[in-house]
């Protein structure tokens, strides 16, 4: 199964992720 987040945010929003990395619920995806 998959979860897709789609949201608007200010232009300076940045993800701190790498494609393919493992992630756990509660860990940060990104911030302004």
């Amino acid at each position: 199964s998959t979860i897709v987040l789609l949201f608007e945010a200010p232009r300076d929003f940045a993800f701190n992720l790498k494609a393919g990395q493992k992630i756990r619920y509660g860990e940060p995806l990104g911030s302004m």
Binding site: S1, I3, F15, Q21, I23, Y25, L29
Partner: protein
């Protein structure tokens, strides 16, 4: 030369031809993938090999919903106590489940695999990050993330799907977006979603593997105003298939929750798959997924905004939101 053996020979004769053709096709396809991998090792960007219409059509003929419901029925059968440990231990070993984090570690506690699949975690197992405004809603693997451009969202690098097909028409937002912004102001569907000047549209795809904890939580502080349920196929969504079938997430059964957060539009979509065909949203008792019958391309809307609740359902970052279930 009895009639029986002649009949049998006639039936068997095409078999070698079918095997040779199929084997040749698989061999050719595997060679192509091998060559792509070699090119990627040399740092040469290779277009992903996306399935053509015929291959997608062939894949969609597989009765994935029927298989999914049968798999769900099987996993509702209560296991005798002596069988629980071996069955769940096999599942744990196969999918690398970490039982130390489970709220109940005793395998005999779970009456069937469906209950085991819905296991909860110890509260302290997943501290919710306070310093970031958006957190991961679930355990899993990041398939893709980034800015949405030209109304196309990438499911994995290089393989996209249409934003409008995925979310459906922008009718849910009448109650959200102020009247001044009407449809012809926006040059595209994507612009309709962005409600504030200077904002962009972002996306993130989290793939949950069979051994992962399969409940999901609110990724931020937001209010959920609307639910759109798209019945659909239940093709596998593992990364290999996501690289192969364009628009995969638009074919599959999914539940789109949309609403607002501090910066405007926010949505979370749970996409089902063959082994996890059912999606539950804890505050939405009306939602029924993976039903036997549905009409192709249909969807059903449900608004959480009512006369005495003009905002919708308020969700705190990290709050329990829903779960995927087997079958």
């Amino acid at each position: 030369f009895s009639p029986v053996s002649l009949g049998l020979q006639a039936r068997l004769r095409p078999l070698p031809l079918i095997l040779a053709t199929g084997g040749g096709y698989v061999g050719y396809d595997q060679y192509g993938r091998y060559r792509d991998r070699e090119l990627e090792k040399l740092g040469i960007e290779v277009e992903p090999r996306v399935a053509n219409e015929a291959q997608v059509g062939l894949y969609k003929t597989i009765p994935t919903r029927l298989l999914s419901r049968a798999w769900g029925r099987l996993n509702q059968v209560e296991l005798p106590t002596w069988l629980r440990k071996p069955v769940y231990s096999l599942y744990i070993w196969t999918f690398g489940v970490n039982m130390q984090e489970a709220a109940v570690e005793d395998l005999h506690h779970y009456r069937n695999l469906g209950e085991f699949f819905r296991r909860k975690l110890k509260p302290q197992a997943r501290p919710v990050c306070d310093s970031h405004c958006v957190i991961s809603p679930a355990d899993g693997k990041i398939l893709h993330f980034g800015r949405v451009r030209n109304c196309e969202v990438e499911q994995v690098k290089g393989v996209t799907y249409s934003l409008e097909t995925f979310l459906g028409p922008h009718t849910w937002a009448e109650s959200l977006v102020d009247a001044t912004r009407n449809e012809d102001d926006a040059s595209s569907f994507q612009d309709l979603l962005v409600t504030k000047e200077g904002n962009e549209l972002f996306h993130c795809v989290v793939y949950l593997a069979p051994g992962d904890y399969h409940c999901f939580h609110s990724p931020t502080d937001w209010t959920v105003a609307h639910r759109r349920h798209f019945p659909g196929s239940l093709m596998s969504v593992n990364p290999g298939v996501a690289r192969w079938i364009k628009e995969l997430f638009c074919h599959n059964e999914r539940v789109v929750l949309s609403g607002e957060w501090t910066h405007g539009f926010f949505s979370l979509t749970a996409v089902g798959a063959t082994n996890v065909g059912s999606i539950r949203i804890y505050f939405d008792k009306e939602l029924r997924t993976n039903a036997p019958r549905y009409s192709k391309g249909s969807y059903n809307d449900f608004s959480y905004i009512s006369n005495n609740n003009r905002e919708g359902v308020a969700m705190r970052k990290g709050e329990h939101l829903g779960e995927f279930n087997l079958g």
